[in-house]
Symmetry: C2
Subunit: 344 residues, 2 copies
C-alpha cells in the first residue's frame, strides 16, 4: 500500500510500504477513508533531523474495518470506525479512569512498528479498546466532523473540561489553529457565555466567532494581556485554554488568568520550564491539561456531531488525495491552510 513517510524537516513523501496484516488476535485492519494533517505534525515537519529510513506519520483517521483478529469483540468487517490519536486496550486501570493516553498496553501511531494514519490502511492494535464505531455510511457528509473526533475536537474539549469550563466561567482561548477553534467550540458547548479568542488570522478568528467566541484579541504578548484585562474589568478570565505550545503562549495565559483560575494546556510543549513563580503562587493559579485522552470523550461528543449541533469539521479548509499530502504539509506550514483533509 501507499503511506506518508517523513524523512526530515520539510521532506514528506508518499510511497509504497508493506501492506498491513493482522499480527495479533487483538488487531484490526482498517482501510482509511479519511485522514488529516495535525498541527502537531508540523513540529517534526519543521525540525526533524534527516533520516535515511524515514518515519511513518499521521495519527488521525477513520475508515472501514477489513479484518479483525480473533479476540476483537464488538467490531466486524465493514464497520466504519474512528481511531483516537492514541491506541489503548480499554481494560487497564488508566483506561477505566478515562486516561487512555496512559494505557498500560497502548501507544502512539506511526512509531515502534505501528502504522501511521496518513496512508491507505492501518493495522490497529488493541482494536476493541481503541476504535469507536460510527453509525453512518462511509460517504456521509458528516465525515469531516466525525474525523475531528480522532484528535482535534476532543483535544479542545479536554482543554475546556480540565479548565472546569461551565456556564459561570469566563474563558480565554489562546491560539487560532484548529485546536484553538475546537476549544472555542467545546467551551461554548459546555455553556461558557464569554469566550475571548486570541489570534491574529482574521479568517480563522472569524470561524472562531461562528464557533462561539464573543471577543477576538489580535494583539500578542503584553499588549494582548492588557487587552484581555481591559475586556474583563482588569481581572482576566476564570479559564484560559492554551492551544499553542510555546512558552510565550503560556506566559500570556498566566497573564490573562483571573486569580484562583486555571490555565489548561493542550499545545504540545516546545519548552522545558514554565514561570510558575511566587506571583502565580500568591494568585492560586492552577496549570492543568495535557495530551487529550480522546477515546474517553468520543462517546459524549459523537451524538452532538451526528445531530449537527456542532460542526468541528469546518476547521478543514483544504482537501487532498494521498499524492497531495506533501503539498498539504507545505500549505499548513505556510499558514495557507488551517487543516488539511486527506482522502487516500
Amino acid at each position: 500500500m501507499r503511506a506518508t513517510v517523513i524523512y526530515g524537516a520539510g521532506d514528506v513523501r508518499v510511497e509504497a510500504v508493506p501492506d498491513p496484516v493482522i499480527q495479533r488476535p487483538t488487531d484490526a485492519l482498517v482501510r482509511v477513508v479519511r485522514a488529516c494533517i495535525c498541527g502537531s505534525d508540523l513540529w517534526p515537519y519543521g525540525s526533524m533531523p534527516d533520516s535515511d529510513t524515514g518515519e511513518r506519520i499521521g495519527h488521525e483517521f477513520l475508515g472501514v474495518i477489513e479484518d479483525v483478529g480473533s479476540e476483537v469483540g464488538g467490531l466486524a468487517r465493514g464497520d466504519l470506525v474512528v481511531a483516537p490519536f492514541v491506541w489503548s486496550d480499554g481494560t487497564c486501570d488508566f483506561c477505566r479512569e478515562g486516561l487512555q493516553t496512559s494505557c498500560r498496553h497502548g501507544g502512539l501511531w506511526a512509531s515502534n512498528g505501528i502504522d501511521g494514519g496518513q496512508g491507505e490502511a492501518v493495522r490497529v492494535p488493541q482494536a476493541w479498546g481503541t476504535l469507536v464505531k460510527l453509525p453512518v455510511a462511509p460517504d456521509s457528509a458528516l465525515l469531516p466532523s466525525l474525523l475531528t473526533l480522532s484528535d482535534v475536537f476532543p483535544t479542545g474539549h479536554h482543554c475546556a473540561v480540565k479548565a472546569g469550563v461551565n456556564p459561570r466561567t469566563t474563558v480565554t482561548v489562546i491560539g487560532d489553529g484548529a485546536v484553538g477553534l475546537c476549544a472555542v467550540l467545546a467551551a461554548k458547548r459546555l455553556g461558557a457565555e464569554r469566550i475571548i479568542l486570541m489570534g491574529r488570522h482574521a479568517d480563522r478568528t472569524d470561524l472562531g466567532v461562528q464557533f462561539g467566541a464573543t471577543d477576538v484579541v489580535a494583539e500578542r504578548g503584553a499588549e494582548g494581556i492588557e487587552r484581555v484585562r481591559e475586556l474583563t474589568g482588569g481581572d482576566g478570565t476564570h479559564a484560559v485554554l492554551e492551544c499553542v505550545g510555546y512558552r510565550a503562549a503560556v506566559e500570556t495565559a498566566l497573564g490573562v488568568v483571573r486569580d484562583g483560575g486555571v490555565v489548561s494546556r493542550v499545545g504540545a510543549p516546545q519548552y522545558q520550564d514554565l514561570p510558575l513563580d511566587f506571583g502565580t503562587f500568591m494568585r492560586n493559579i492552577t496549570l492543568t491539561g495535557g495530551v487529550a485522552p480522546a477515546r474517553a470523550y468520543i462517546g459524549e461528543l459523537l451524538p452532538d456531531v451526528l445531530d449537527g449541533r456542532v460542526e468541528p469539521g469546518r476547521v478543514f479548509d483544504r482537501a487532498v488525495g494521498l499524492d497531495g499530502v506533501p503539498d498539504g504539509y507545505r500549505a499548513m506550514a505556510d499558514r495557507k491552510a488551517l487543516k488539511v483533509l486527506i482522502t487516500p
Copy 2:
C-alpha cells in the same frame, strides 16, 4: 507596646513600637494571647538585606478584642478571636468565592503600616471579614491547636483540598515541617488511607505517623522518588502535597505523582521556573495550590479542633515569651525546634 522587628538576616529584635489604635471604623484592636513563628518567617530570617529601620514580622495570632471600630459587626470587646494570615474584607467577590487571599481590599500583616502578629497587640483592618470568634476561654488548653487555624493547619488543608484528596486517593506529602505534618493531618481527615510522608527528621516524621502517615520515606531526590514508586507498584500517588518551596521539592513531586495526578504546592516558591515539560504534559499532570485562603477554611476546621478530633497544635514543640522570640527563630532555623509558640 513591644513587638518583633526584623533588621536583616539572622537579626530579629523585640522592641518598643507605637501602641496600635483604631484608625478606621472597620478596625479592631486585638491584645495577642498566642502567636507563633512560621516556616515562611525563616525566608527573610535567612536572606533579608540589612535594614536601618527594620520591618515588623509575624502573621499568626489569636487574642482578645480590646476595641472595635464603629462599623465592625458581630465582634465585641472581650471576644477571643483568631486571625488568618491574610486580612480581608469578607464582602468582595473573591472573599465570597473563598479566595480571601485575593481580597480586593485585603492585605498582608507586618507590611504597609499594618502590625505584625509577633507582638503584644495588633490593629486588625477589615476586622469583620478577617477575625473568627473562638468559643473558648483565653486560657483554654486548646489554644495551640486553635492558633494553627491562623495558617499552618488551613495551609495543609488547602494543599489537600486543591489536590482533590478523598478516601480513594493515594497521597505523598513532601516535607516534614509543620505545614507538611498538617498536610498529613488534613489528608487523613479527608479520608486518605495511604499517606506517604517524605522527610528526614525522625522526630518529625514520628509525629507525622501519629497524624496519619502510613509510610515514611527518608531518602531524597532520585532515590526518594524510586522509593515512593516502589511503595506504589511503580505508579506514584494520585496526589502529591508539596510543603517545602524549593524547586527540588517540586521536581520530586513531579517524580512521584501518578499519571493524571495532581501536585499541590503550598511551600512558598523559592524558584522562578518549574519543569512542566513535554513529559508532564504527556502524563496529564496538574500543578495547583498556592497561598492558602485560611479564612475560607476556619469555619470547617474549627469544630474538629474544638472536639479534639484533630490536634494540629502538637506541631508546637517549644514555647517562649516575647523576649524569647529571637531564640525561637534561631532554634527553628537550626532545626532544633519544629514550630515555636509565643505567649507575649
